[in-house]
């Protein structure tokens, strides 16, 4: 992916750029609003990471609004030290596609960038999903692993659907909470893990090759790869 990072804090920038590089992405860095707006408007990026608070007269949300008005639909992840839900809503309303609060885990950032990128490539909500020998048909709501039909409760179906739509990508617990349950808070306990292990029992228990894997310190991934 080609990524634009608009962030004034040098430490955070270095940390993100280095991490993205290791994950195989190329990153352009703008340390102020003017530069960020210029790069965002002129270069084709797959994803833009935008800090909300920037030095100078142009802040992150203003840049997003300008880019959107100019017809740029590059997915944008808003980074902010403001965690209040109202701020999150304001960030998304101004045209941002996702919102991440500082401080954040790099795994969370990477997972969200992947998800944004995939979403931007356009998915057919109705086309069947396949990972290895696991099939899901969103239309008929049928799930099969090999020849075996799997009965899922509605929420389990939604959980698996989200994981399969982001197959081969790490999906964090927070992403699952937000997208599957629409919960924007930290439930303190490991409820998501319990849901996952229950789902895992249903899809992986009788198979030799597990598809639903736990990624240490990050989250989960559905993949058929090694």
């Amino acid at each position: 992916m080609k990524i634009l990072l608009v962030e004034d804090n040098e430490r955070v920038s270095q940390f993100v750029i280095k991490g993205l590089q290791e994950a195989g992405h190329t990153t352009d860095h703008a340390s102020n609003g003017r530069e960020g707006m210029f790069l965002g408007a002129s270069e084709p990026y797959d994803v833009i990471i935008m800090d909300r608070m920037l030095p100078g007269d142009i802040d992150g949300l203003a840049i997003i609004e300008v880019l959107r008005k100019a017809g740029k639909h590059t997915p944008i992840l808003v980074l902010s030290a403001l965690s209040e839900v109202d701020d999150r809503i304001r960030g998304l309303r101004s045209g941002g596609d996702d919102y991440l609060t500082k401080p954040f885990a790099f795994g969370e950032l990477l997972a969200r960038l992947d998800a944004l990128h995939r979403r931007a490539q356009g998915v057919n909500r109705e086309s069947p999903l396949t990972v290895g020998d696991l099939h899901m048909d969103p239309m008929t709501r049928k799930v099969t692993r090999g020849d075996r039909q799997i009965a899922l409760q509605p929420r389990e179906f939604k959980l698996l659907e989200y994981l399969m739509r982001h197959a081969d990508q790490v999906v964090t617990r927070t992403m699952l909470l937000e997208n599957v349950w629409d919960y924007h808070f930290d439930p303190q306990t490991n409820v998501v893990d319990v849901h996952i292990s229950k789902l895992r029992q249903k899809i992986d228990a009788e198979s030799e090759r597990p598809l639903l894997r736990t990624v240490r310190n990050a989250g989960y991934m559905v993949t058929a790869g090694e």
Partner: protein, 481 residues
Amino acid sequence: MMRSSALSLALGYVALGITALVLFAAPLWYAWQVTIQDGRSEILQADAQRLTDVYRRDGSAGLKSFIDTRLHMQIAGDRILLLTDSSLTPLTGNISHWPRNLPAAPGNYRVDVDTADHGIQSTLVHVAQLGNLYLLVGRDNKLFAPLERRFWYGLTAAIAVLSIAGLLVGLITRRALMSRVNSIRRTISAIIHGDLKHRLPSHSSDDELNTLTRTINGMLDQIELLVHGVRNVSNSIAHDLRTPLAELRSRLEELSLIRPPPEKTFGEIDAAVADVDRVIRIFDALLRLAEIDAGMRRSGFVPLDLVDLASAAVEFYAPAAELKRIQLSFYGDGPLPVLGDPILLAQALGNLIDNALKYAPENGAIDVAVRRRSDTTAEISVTDNGPGIKDSEKAKVFERFYRGDASRGTPGVGLGLSLVHAVAKLHASVLELSDRDPGLSVVLTMPSALAAGTGAAQPAPSPAAASAAATPVTATPAPSS
């Protein structure tokens, strides 16, 4: 002298009083003068007439002797009499000469007359011409002088009394006011210097200053409560953040000192990151609490179905309950529209269920129920059969960072119930803890949207529809395969 509102007010009233007095006295004085003048001219005319009669009867010599006799016998009283010849040379009378500036023509005049007894006085005189003689008749003013003097004295005294009394009242009021204002000022400076325990002195009376004082005292109570709350919170933050930070610090320091092999180092780094995450979690929870307490979230209120929200929360926690072999059941009497913040309500309910899961014993039971309590209130209850909460602890569990004895060894930072409490407060709801012997029941009673106004336009579900919709849902553990 300091400018004082009490004093200026008193002086203003004094000036007003004097003006009123003058306005009252001036016409009186004028009327008095006119009346006296008229009366005098009549008397003078009568006197002159009598003398004229004498002249007509006895001639000029008779008149002269008449006047002489009267003056001599001193029965002329305060009269001024003068008889002159045609060249105004006195023939007889009790003044020495014809007054200057007095024309020798009949009529009434006011002139200065030099009397033997009282010196020069302005006097009203009547002049009559009798043949070739001139007669001057006057009356000494001394008869009315004391009366006039008394009038002036009275007026002056009244003004003086008014001024002095006004000034005194002003000074006294100012003194009384200043002493109260000063005591308020002293109290407030003490408060400014940080001692919030002070209160303004107030009396039982209902005067303006007292009403103000009581209002200010009420404000001070609220401020002290808030400051106390903030102080408590910052103490708790200091305490509760210190622990993970201390752990983190010692972990890193040890790492730096011992420099263990890479494998162990990475393990320690992971543990350090987990420590930091814990600090961040506490921070987020506190920020959210502060946000709720500040009432900022009321903008996020939307109409929502409480039964929907609660059943989703129960469904979310069902697998966790299952893992502990706890029967988590739900009863919803819906739909039950309320006005609220869906995120916060879900989090509050989540915290309650999470707590119940922590304390319910293995193979225990948790009941979550949403009911319509009356036409205007809805009720969410979470009941477990765990150890419950001791009465002595009940008031404390909503405090920030409070962790009961039973919670030792369980994860959590002690903010869960504080958040529930804050969310309840934000939603104008009542939160009650009651014993279930064994176990605990937490009941949140909140106003339903039908009463809150926004939902008033929606038709209330008919009793039949409501009972039909009352579908007890039980999330029982599915047999694990």
